[in-house]
């Protein structure tokens, strides 16, 4: 399964790759012929994902990764450097979200959310970019959220703030990594049907949210993965530092029908 350092097959690391948006991104990257590294806190799920990709002819390996732990990120990248010698594409999908009223927002959840969503994205991007600069080519895509561009209902004190920070971090990386042939962009999904939103969104919230979206529905993980595939492709070689909404028109519209 290992890729020779001189091989043309690009190595693509997807954090949070075992489930949700990350899993679909892994499928698309594997279908495009990349060596996919499925990194997840849930190692068993990552292994299952990687073996499913291999069964369908893809090149994939699973990695244990807790993006909330700097030591875990360091270990993972030591592993990647030793076994693959390169990292060409990084898709930061790992993220957590919980909602609480602002007045009662628990500090420990705020710190944990910022740690996983922001610090985790930073450290993975930093480690990946250090490998990308050697080959003077790289693509970093951070999964942000429309919640990072607008307050989406109540309760997103930590999640919305963390995704806003991810978008700002993406810009900073875009500026500093451009000279090394690396682009950095964010995708800002609207609501997507994933294990995370199934746990987070009540039926009432789903209906209200759908009503605010011109397309009147949640997105699919495939629709988010398609945007990621565009941003990692050669077609997007002049695009860097953007936050691309994939939201059925939510940000353009404000509230539909008003």
């Amino acid at each position: 399964m290992q890729t020779h350092p001189d091989s043309e097959r690009r190595v693509a690391l997807v954090t949070g790759g075992a489930k949700g948006i990350g899993a679909t991104v892994c499928e698309r990257l594997a279908a495009a012929g990349h060596q996919v590294l499925v990194a997840d806190l849930d190692v068993a799920a990552a292994e299952a994902m990687a073996s499913r990709l291999r069964e369908t002819g893809g090149h994939a390996a699973a990695l244990a990764l807790d993006v909330g732990q700097p030591e875990s990120i360091a270990r993972t990248f030591e592993h990647i450097e030793r076994d693959f010698g390169r990292c060409d594409i990084l898709v930061n999908c790992a993220g957590i979200a919980k909602v609480f009223p602002f007045l009662d927002f628990p500090l420990d959840n705020f710190i944990a959310t910022m740690n996983v969503n922001v610090t985790g994205t930073l450290l993975c991007a930093q480690a990946a970019a250090r490998l990308m600069v050697r080959r003077r080519w790289g693509r970093i895509v951070n999964i942000a959220s429309v919640a990072g561009l607008r307050a989406v209902g109540s309760g997103r004190t930590a999640y919305g703030t963390s995704k806003g920070a991810v978008i700002a971090l993406t810009r900073q990386m875009a500026v500093e990594l451009a000279e090394h042939g690396i682009t950095a962009n964010a995708v800002a999904p609207g609501p997507v049907d994933t294990p995370m939103t199934q746990a987070l969104h009540t039926e009432q919230f789903r209906q209200e949210y759908s009503k605010a979206i011109p397309m009147n529905r949640y997105g699919t993980t495939a629709e988010i993965a398609a945007a990621v595939m565009y941003l990692v492709s050669e077609d997007a070689s002049y695009t860097s530092g953007i936050a691309l909404p994939v939201d059925g028109g939510f940000l353009a519209a404000g509230a539909r029908g008003l």
């Binding site: 595939m229 997007a236 691309l244």
Partner: protein, 249 residues
């Protein structure tokens, strides 16, 4: 081949060194039949033939509502359907506020904004009837940052207006299955730059761009392909920057 058998209209596509033609060519490479509309009938025909014999070039002044309706009817008569409209026609002027005239203002606003309005209104009844369609409007980094390099205030305003038109159409037309988005290119190396900036000037601009170069028309064409393909099925109402980081929000 992501656009197999689709029919695409690109306005302002007659210059072989421009964004419109590069976009039409890219669509054709992906299997679409393209119709190039341009104010210059001969150039439109030549531009279409330069892509291939199955493509069509038509004369159309997009400022003229009746001409837009006629062109759309001609396309429907020839091909039976329209899947894609790219509102690319535009006039670039760098005159500063006090150096531009009423005529300059009318030309720049009318070709960009009224043109996109007319063409969109001409295709939407057909797209609605089939409950599918993708519209892309060509904005500019000049709208995102308030002009400043080569775009005068009236040009920046026109591009801001067409970007907002895309958002408003996105909101209104999504329930009909029609998507509308805009692209905000940075400085693109096309004939629009001829006489406005020399090579040394281009190098100075490139030095200020994080990715270190001007855009080429293919960069914009590639983004356009993404926005009209099924790859972007859940994307509507966005303004996609393709500026090499020239303007990062």
């Amino acid at each position: 081949m992501s656009l197999t058998d689709q029919i695409a209209i690109v306005t302002g596509g007659a210059s072989l060194r421009g964004i419109g033609w590069a976009t039409a060519k890219r669509f054709a490479d992906e299997g679409a039949r393209v119709v190039i509309l341009d104010i210059d009938a001969v150039a439109a025909g030549q531009a279409a033939r330069a892509i291939g014999p199955q493509h069509l070039g038509l004369a159309c002044d997009v400022r003229d509502e009746a001409a837009c309706k006629l062109s759309v009817q001609q396309v429907l008569d020839a091909f039976g359907r329209i899947d894609i409209l790219v509102n690319n026609a535009g006039v670039s002027q760098s005159h500063r506020l006090m150096d531009s005239t009423q005529a300059d203002y009318d030309l720049v606003m009318d070709v960009s904004v009224r043109g996109a309005y007319n063409m969109s209104r001409a295709v939407v009844p057909h797209m609605r009837s089939r409950r599918c369609g993708a519209i892309v409007c060509m904005g500019s980094v000049a709208a995102q940052r308030g002009g400043g390099i080569l775009g005068g205030p009236h040009y920046s305003a026109a591009k801001g207006a067409i970007q907002t038109l895309a958002k408003a159409m996105a909101r209104e037309l999504a329930p009909d299955g029609i998507r509308a988005n805009a692209i905000a290119p940075g400085m693109v190396d096309t004939d629009l730059l001829v006489g406005k900036i020399d090579d040394a000037g281009k190098r100075r601009v490139a030095d200020g761009i994080p990715l270190g170069r001007l855009a080429v028309p293919a960069d914009i064409a590639n983004a356009c392909l993404f926005l009209v393909s099924d790859q972007s099925a859940y994307i509507t109402g966005v303004v996609l920057d393709v500026s090499g980081g020239l303007h990062i929000h």
